[in-house]
């Protein structure tokens, strides 16, 4: 490698500070710009509940909430999360009690191998924050960005319907999901 190229490599690998609040806890790290948010969560913060499924932004297994909006964390650089509030699957259960969406996936057996489940639960959390009482069609459309390769969609849809029911009758939980469209 020529000296000029080596210098460029150095500049491009220069680390940037990224401060985030993840599931209510503040973290500060120095990261390379090319580090994807999902790798930051898994490798730097040890939050391995967020899965990597496809690496092509299609499967939704890595879905998390960024300032309340569902986002594929494999399609965002960690540096872009500077100053943002993130919720991952690990932030859903509170005080040892499953979130109603998690409970509904359990009760309705909304999973087979379980690999896609964290992403589905986070996408469902966003969907229900936008539309607390969705029809089956709206659920299917709302989860279009998540793939289940076991093809267990029937029970996943059922789980979201059940969660919608529980959440509309249960006392409101403190959630960090955006209510607005933007």
């Amino acid at each position: 490698m020529a000296p000029a190229e080596r210098r460029l490599e150095g500049i491009r690998s220069m680390k940037h500070k990224v401060a985030t609040t993840v599931n209510g806890r503040r973290h500060e790290h120095e990261v390379e710009p090319r580090l994807l948010l999902v790798h930051h969560l898994r490798d730097n913060l040890g939050l391995t509940g967020t899965h990597i499924g496809c690496d092509t932004s299609q499967c939704g297994a890595c879905t998390i909430l960024v300032d309340g909006k569902a986002v594929k964390s494999c399609t965002m650089f960690a540096v872009q999360a500077e100053g943002k509030s993130l919720t991952t699957i690990e932030g859903m259960a509170k005080d040892g009690e499953l979130h109603p969406i998690q409970q509904a996936f359990w009760d309705e057996h909304g999973l087979q191998c379980g690999y896609c489940t964290p992403g589905f639960i986070m996408a469902a959390a966003y969907l229900l924050a936008q539309n607390p009482n969705p029809t089956e069609d709206e659920i299917r459309k709302g989860l279009e960005g998540n793939l289940c390769r076991c093809t267990g969609y029937v029970n996943i849809v059922k789980a979201v319907q059940t969660a919608a029911k529980t959440m509309s009758t249960a006392p409101a939980r403190k959630t960090t999901v955006a209510a607005g469209g933007n």
């Binding site: 490599e9 491009r12 690496d55 932004s57 909006k69 986002v71 594929k72 998540n146």
Partner: protein, 271 residues
């Protein structure tokens, strides 16, 4: 898959972003929603030397109208466009198209300016911009859409030029976007947009060539009183689409004709 290393800078103004692009040279790219760029970088089909992050430029995230024109800021996310009461009222076809881009997660990040500047042949907004004679406003000038899209992933933008706004005409007549794909979140195999406007039709085609296509032969046939089915036969006139994994050139031409008929019929409330 891990992208190649790059320099990263956050811009706090359009001017600063443009200066950073000049400084980094022509291998630098703007990072907006990142939902085309980051996948390409992960596959290392793109290896920009530097990214200029414009996500902090909140004044580029806006929707304004003055009765004749609808101005959509470059950083406006698809979800905002899809849900905007202003867009639904002044250019409902745009709200419909925004709701058909990708999926919820993609629509939360992807932007108007990103789609326009990326100029993917399968992008949906470029078709609408072209067929409605929209203007692409940059930090340097205003470019009519029919001079903006030059070739596959190639636009009239200079290396340090940044799209700031896309200006559409207000159009509230019959309209429909038919996006043909195998899965809901996919890009269009072929897409057809139809908008009734100023007493005539505007028809635009997605993914049937390196740039979006305005189906003027269909528009003229409709203007002369042809029935949708008859007019739609002209949708493939002069088309020379490239085949890809999903569709052969012949199939794309077939789809252009069939979907044009459907778009016009559905715009007018027929099946």
């Amino acid at each position: 898959m891990i992208p190649a290393a790059f320099e990263y800078a956050r811009a706090s103004s359009v001017e600063e972003a443009s200066n950073l692009l000049s400084k980094f040279g022509e291998d630098a790219k703007v990072l907006a929603g990142g939902h085309s760029l980051i996948p390409l970088m992960r596959l290392r089909l793109a290896q920009p030397s530097a990214l200029v992050d414009i996500n902090g430029l909140k004044d580029l995230d806006h929707i304004k109208e003055d009765g004749r024109k609808l101005r959509v800021g470059a950083l406006t996310r698809h979800v905002t466009i899809q849900n905007s009461s202003t867009v639904k009222e002044k250019l409902p076809l745009l709200a419909e198209i925004a709701g058909e881009v990708g999926d919820n997660q993609v629509r939360n990040m992807g932007t108007m300016g990103g789609v326009i500047a990326h100029a993917d042949a399968a992008g949906d907004y470029p078709t609408l911009a072209l067929m409605l004679d929209a203007d692409i406003v940059t930090n340097q000038r205003t470019i009519p859409a029919n001079e903006f899209f030059k070739d596959l992933f190639t636009t009239a933008l200079a290396p340090d030029e940044i799209v700031t706004e896309v200006v559409f005409p207000v159009a509230t007549g019959a309209h429909k976007y038919v996006k043909f794909r195998r899965r809901l979140f996919d890009w269009a195999i072929v897409g057809v947009a139809a908008q009734k406007m100023n007493g005539g039709w505007r028809i635009g085609l997605t993914n049937v060539g390196p740039t979006p296509v305005r189906a003027t032969a269909v528009e003229e046939a409709l203007h002369k009183g042809a029935q949708p089915e008859e007019a739609a036969q002209h949708a493939s006139d002069e088309l020379d689409p490239a085949g890809d994994l999903r569709a052969s050139p012949e199939y794309k031409k077939h789809l252009a004709r069939v979907l044009t008929k459907r778009a016009i019929n559905q715009a007018e409330g027929r099946q």
